[in-house]
Symmetry: C2
Subunit: 348 residues, 2 copies
DNA sequence: CTGAAAGCGCTTACAG
DNA sequence: CTGAAAGCGCTTACAG
């Protein structure tokens, strides 16, 4: 009845210098066989497989990914280029990516592109030098053709654009629909003068959300007033500044739709500073539904973007690509989460 | 006047299959020499060095870190185990780490331990299997002795504890001082009944901040009332719950000190829900000074923790350790940032 | 089904 | 100061 106490030791106590060759010796087979069993690369007789499994367990063998990477070309690591690692938006996406890559045996290698094409290119270079097996690009500014070029040698999945190319998968949230939903929500509550803080002007997300905003106005027969759309930078600070400008401009408005939550947070502060109450005086809608949107005062009505889910889907798509399959991911539709920052306009 | 247009191509356009051997051939030297020049491992005659540099530039050679890792034992990657990658707190620290590691030629490998010793251990195992050159541990629950064991084979820097061991460097923020500062600030404003939401009870940070809280009360001759201290989980949600419990308990209080900003955000919402105004009815102080603390309504008075700087320092300490030096980092002292969530008690 | 051998791209004693 | 050689720990044609 003696039990083999395999795996009961705290793993990093023993020097993990156990090599595949040691396993092979112990099992009485060749290294090639062990390798094949490890990789499921070929059919191996049951008895050999058994012995090898036993040897692996007894020795506590863990394959060395570095050697694997050199020999086989696979490093089991995936490069992820985000824009800013310490942003609530990217943090959520990275969390989702990590969540699916880890269990699949892959390690994410995160890098920040800082909204800068040159830096993104540098990130890609570093990642390629490190022989990652694939690259996940979260939005970013590098050109589509550059991305396609990368995809010639590595699978790539990219979010925030629509791009078709071999070995490349793109997936994005429906920003037009989201923008439309937010605006419709406000219109349904009786708002007629709805300001829009749009985020980085040449950013596709910003442009698409604006398109939704305009579509909703049009559908409701409301005029589009350029004086009501303010540029922003997707940051709290820029939302604050835009709102101040809006108020100072004396253009009448009863609601603000900010193209992301962070700008909405800034807008809320600007309104507070100018003694305008939310939602009594001004209704406010954000976009993203960051975790913190639930804890603003008042809690923010916003368009839910499944950011974490998007990260998960991107990672799954990468796994598909890696497996030689064609990914087919369905990104959930945006929906408005009504909280307490919006309300019907006063009848007057 | 023909210019050599080295490096002007978009780097990932050419297949980076240039090997060290190709460089050696072109320069007419042996691979060993190229390697030594790359690593500054030995003195090499100027003319050879020149030829090699030229060949490297012409070929656009980039050393393969994977091969380097296998052969030399250095992978130029650093494992970083945080607790939750999508948390404002860890995001900031990771940003700081990335900021200094990148330019030094190292790539961070981030993993999340999820506040769980077993998972942290798994992270460390994965990281070691990947042959990282060092490990940075952001707080975490694994035992001190386990960490020391790891340090026997790898340099480790750990935050949030005081630990002395060869090849290991620990650095932490002065939580006792921070807790004291926050409490003193409130006392100076006339508050006598100061509630404390403490965060995960057995977490060292929480315990230390509480120690500071008690020290300040004592120094001011104020009684310590256990009914005023509430457990929390460092999350917004837990801050909200704790505050609701506090209010329901009918214990009188005029101020709340939350052991981190996220709990303070939750507390603010709970107060709002119960129609208690900040700071008119209750003063509120947080801890950390997250970027978003500036945008709460009203903006949160808090104890500034240089979290991003802590990340930078941890990374620098790692670089020192890697260079065989003894790090000597001075972590900035906490200080209270007075904003608008606190005010003097009413004279009555 | 399974070995022996070569090779992935570097580094590092070991000898000059 | 500099080569030739062995080796890091795997994988993968190539032959049975």
């Amino acid at each position: 009845m003696n039990q083999v106490k395999v795996g009961s030791r705290r793993s990093f106590d023993h020097d993990s210098k156990v090599t595949l060759k040691m396993v092979a010796d112990r099992a009485g087979v060749s290294p090639s066989t062990v390798s094949r069993i490890l990789n499921g690369t070929a059919v191996v007789s049951d008895d050999k497989r058994e012995q090898v499994d036993k040897a692996i367990a007894e020795l506590g063998f863990v394959p060395n990914p570095v050697a694997r990477g050199l020999a086989g070309g696979r490093t089991l690591s995936i490069g992820v280029v985000a824009q800013v690692i310490d942003s609530p938006f990217y943090g959520a996406a990275l969390g989702g990516i990590e969540e699916v890559l880890g269990p699949a045996g892959y390690s994410p290698l995160f890098m920040s592109g800082h909204w800068n094409a040159a830096e993104e290119t540098r990130c890609i270079d570093v990642l390629r030098a490190r022989r990652v097996d694939g690259i996940i690009m979260l939005t970013g500014r590098v050109g589509d053709s550059a991305l396609k070029t990368v995809a010639r040698s590595l699978p790539v999945v990219v979010t925030g654009r629509h791009l078709k190319a071999p070995n490349l998968y793109s997936l994005s949230l429906d920003n037009v629909a989201g923008g439309r939903l937010a605006t419709e929500h406000l219109i349904a509550q009786g708002h007629r003068r709805i300001a829009f803080i749009m985020g980085v002007p040449n950013h596709p997300d910003a442009a698409e959300r604006q398109k939704g905003y305009r579509a909703a106005l049009e559908a409701a027969g409301l005029p589009f007033d350029p004086a009501l759309v303010l540029p922003g930078q997707f940051s709290e600070e820029s939302g604050l500044r835009a709102t101040e400008r809006l108020i100072d401009s004396r253009v009448p408005f009863s609601a603000i739709f900010a193209a992301n939550d962070q700008m909405a947070f800034g807008a809320a502060l600007a309104l507070y500073r100018r003694s305008l109450r939310v939602p009594d005086d001004v209704s406010l809608v954000g976009f993203d539904d960051l975790a913190s949107a639930l804890y603003t005062i008042p809690p923010l009505t916003t368009v839910r973007q499944p950011v974490r889910e998007l990260g998960r889907l991107a990672a799954r798509a990468m796994l598909e690509l890696l497996g030689g399959r064609r990914p087919q991911m369905a990104v959930p539709q945006p929906l408005v989460i009504e909280r307490e920052s919006t309300r019907r306009t006063h009848p007057g």
